[in-house]
Point group: C2
Chain length 171, copies 2
């Protein structure tokens, strides 16, 4: 049983399983459960296959998706939404491992830039390919109509959540 | 921008935005993004409103959903899927706060049981009600057809994931 399996399925104020009804709550619990399971598999495979944490994967994927393969530390921290301290510590270790380098913005010396190295890019290209294969496998039980429907509904939800909640940062 | 907003959207092996195509990967990224945003809001509100961590919420909800309001430590740890050490530490703090108590299984003294106290039940009933209101609000941009579609598709995905991945615990 997953950490997220059936979790809170009875959080209905009566301490008993809701079963039917409360479709929004049920949808949330299923979303949470599915993401929890997939995330756990990805986390395990990243660790076993590449000795990579999910935090490292997230970090490197942010740089990898940039055409210039670099971001300011401020933007990177913002996207990863962890404390500056955590990003700094992670950066230190990635620099030590030769996956990223710190640079100074020539236009403003106060601005620190993090860039993916050639080695980092090479490694992450492999990891990203594996990640995509894993996701296709994990979502393999869905047919193309399911996936299309999910993309449609979740696209709208994401848009609304981003508009409503991202700037507020939780409240 | 969220930690999960548009993350890995370009993890296509070319280091560039995939845009179209790769619908399964896109569905995963949207799932991940939506869950990340909702989870962050819930985490913040639990903290601000009840001084409660998400880990505590998860822990207490497992007991709350049981008709007997109690579980063996083994089953609880299994469901929460964190190390026994973490569950033990969390239990210690919840005992100190009077929300749960440790009991011995009369049938087998080696088996430890964790039970929700009256105070714990009272508090969690309130938290669970608030949680449900928050979820309805956060998913408020979806109409009933969207929610129905999500429940259908995610129900199937959850079933497949549970069958395929839960026992393997990640691999």
């Amino acid at each position: 049983m997953s950490a997220r399996t059936a979790k809170h399925s009875t959080v209905d104020g009566n301490g008993r399983s809701s079963g039917t009804g409360k479709p929004a709550l049920r949808a949330w619990l299923r979303l949470w459960s599915c993401v929890g399971t997939v995330e756990r598999v990805i986390r395990t495979r990243l660790h076993l296959g590449y000795g990579m944490t999910l935090a490292r994967f997230d970090y490197l994927s942010q740089l990898y998706r940039e055409p210039a393969l670099r971001l300011t530390m401020t933007e990177l921290s913002h996207r990863l939404m962890v404390s500056g301290g955590n990003v700094t510590g992670l950066t230190d270790r990635l620099v030590t491992d030769g996956l990223v380098v710190r640079e100074q913005d020539p236009a403003d010396r106060r601005v620190q830039i993090i860039a993916l190295t050639g080695h980092g890019h090479e490694l992450f290209t492999e990891v990203a390919r594996a990640h995509e294969v894993w996701i296709r496998e994990l979502l393999g039980s869905l047919n193309s109509e399911d996936v299309k429907g999910l993309n449609h509904t979740l696209g709208r939800l994401k848009h609304a959540l981003d508009d409503e909640w991202i700037e507020k940062r939780g409240e």
